[in-house]
């Protein structure tokens, strides 16, 4: 039982870590694009990025389940071409989590970039530096608190997700059974003590994480 407890927690944090790393590299270019574009697709893209904030996770999970299912076009194409089955698999969970936590990475970074004076970018360009050099050397180093907020919130939000995981991952120990699912599972089985262990870990974790974010932002505002 103890081993299963640690296995579940480890899986939870693995999922969160991988999701966060992927989101970091997806979130920065996406936020940069949104912060700098006046294109007509901007509102559409912004809406899509923000959808997970308002959508019940089960809705997202449901559509992902349909998409990933080998009985449907996309799912069967994945399986036939890459031998990849995303339903009830860890990889599927990672993809679901990336989509689900996208706004938590993109929003802080986009806001951070938009709040930087335009003259930083202009000055860097007039010094002969490319967009890429400017982003890397000037823009990102000056929005460190926003980057950290994005990382921490994405990680924490992935740890806390439930609906999406349940819909597309199910409850396979060591593969898709994460802490939030385990709590539900243990309560169903009337194992309140174990449920409490999971719940307490998540509670303490969330508290610490948010406190870190707020302390850092407080320092940043000084």
């Amino acid at each position: 039982m103890n081993e299963a407890f640690w296995q579940t927690l480890l899986l939870t944090f693995q999922l969160a870590a991988i999701t966060t790393v992927l989101l970091f590299f997806i979130g920065i270019p996406l936020a940069y694009f949104l912060a700098n574009t006046n294109s007509r697709i901007k509102p559409i893209l912004e809406t899509l990025v923000s959808m997970p904030l308002v959508l019940p996770p089960t809705v997202l999970g449901f559509y992902l389940l349909l998409a990933f299912s080998p009985e449907n076009t996309f799912g069967s194409w994945l399986e036939n071409t890459f031998g990849l089955r995303l339903v009830f698999s860890f990889t599927g969970l990672v993809i679901g989590s990336v989509i689900y936590s996208l706004p938590f990475m993109v929003h802080p970074i986009q806001a951070g970039l938009e709040n930087l004076p335009q003259s930083y970018t202009d000055a860097s360009y007039t010094l002969g530096k490319s967009k890429w050099e400017t982003l890397l050397n000037v823009l990102l180093p000056n929005i460190k608190p926003a980057l950290l907020t994005g990382i921490v919130l994405s990680f924490a939000h992935t740890v806390g997700e439930f609906g999406v995981v349940l819909m597309i991952g199910g409850n396979i120990p060591g593969e898709t059974k994460v802490a939030s699912i385990a709590i539900y599972d243990e309560v169903e089985g009337l194992n309140y003590a174990l449920a409490n262990q999971y719940a307490f870990v998540l509670f303490a974790f969330s508290f610490v994480v948010l406190m870190v974010v707020y302390s850092i932002n407080r320092q940043g505002n000084k």
């Binding site: 202009d122 000055a123 010094l127 002969g128 000037v138």
Partner: protein, 305 residues
């Protein structure tokens, strides 16, 4: 459209020492849209002051030259290079245009020290000695390891100025660089700009509202209104009717009384002058009073080199 070349002489090389501007761009006004339409030639090594009411297109003109804003139509030829020719679909990106741009709010990068701010501007494989050279010219040796936020406005603007010159630009664009500084600092900075303008043989475009500053810095003035140059000429001509440039501002440093004659020692910028006066005329004055007074050319002698 014909162009009148302002250069004297007939050598073909003179042509290469010019900056030719013909740009069109729509400007958004509170009252609607106006066309910015500038056609001019600037001789290399000149400092041109650009003045005009807000919204007249001063900043837009600098941004168009730098390529930070795209022109609707036009041509920018700097020396031998065509930076922009919309007919031939030539449009060099800002990065490729060899300019130095100094912004009103300095735009120093907060994450870098003064030294790093300057080094960031280096072109790949460029000799680093230019960094130290410029740091010395603007007198910032003691501050190189500090971050911009710890510097005064004047110091920050000196860094910005040095940074803009690292690439040895052909054109220096100054967008109201001194408007946020107090009088004394402004005068210091003007001296630095003049020094650099001459030392690096720059063609400088200076946006400014300050007539005294323009008198001191520029050889040519463009008065902009609603996107057009409505008046141009040397500062003395432009300000003939509006500027009392015989007025000096200074601080009394010493008052010496010799019987009925009083000698005031007055500091003007970095210079001291002694002016004789009478006890009655100076009765209310004391040391460290600030004065505005008229300078007159009652007797003068031309200095020949």
């Amino acid at each position: 459209m014909m162009f009148i070349c302002l250069v004297h002489g007939t050598s073909i090389f003179n042509f290469y020492n010019m900056t030719e501007l013909r740009i069109k761009k729509e400007l958004n006004f509170a009252g609607g849209k106006k066309m910015l339409h500038i056609e001019t030639r600037i001789e290399e090594g000149t400092c041109v002051a650009i003045m005009g009411p807000s919204g007249s297109g001063k900043t837009t003109l600098l941004r168009l030259i730098s390529g930070l804003t795209d022109a609707a139509a036009g041509k920018i030829i700097v020396g031998k290079n065509t930076w922009l020719d919309t007919e031939k679909k030539i449009n060099w990106p800002t990065q490729k245009r060899n300019i130095g741009y100094v912004f009103q709010n300095y735009a120093l990068f907060p994450n870098m020290t003064i030294q790093q701010n300057l080094e960031y501007a280096l072109v790949r494989n460029q000799d680093k000695s230019i960094v130290n050279e410029l740091i010395e010219v603007v007198g910032l040796q003691s501050l190189i390891n500090k971050y911009p936020i710890t510097l005064s406005g004047g110091q920050q603007q000196r860094v910005a100025l040095a940074r803009a010159l690292i690439r040895k630009p052909q054109i220096l664009l100054l967008d109201e660089p001194l408007s946020a500084l107090d009088e004394e600092m402004r005068s210091d900075l003007q001296d630095y700009i003049l020094k650099l303008h001459e030392a690096y043989h720059l063609t400088t475009l200076l946006v400014s509202h300050d007539k005294k500053e323009i008198m001191k810095m520029a050889q040519q003035v463009y008065v902009l209104k609603e996107g057009k140059i409505v008046n141009t000429g040397p500062p003395a001509t432009i300000f003939k009717n509006t500027l009392q440039f015989h007025q000096l501002t200074g601080i009394i440093r010493k008052i010496e009384t010799q019987e009925e004659v009083v000698i005031l020692q007055i500091q003007i910028g970095d210079n001291y002058i002694s002016i004789p006066s009478t006890k009655i005329d100076t009765a209310n004055l004391k040391v460290s009073d600030k004065l505005v007074f008229n300078a007159s050319l009652e007797s003068w002698k031309k200095i020949t080199k």
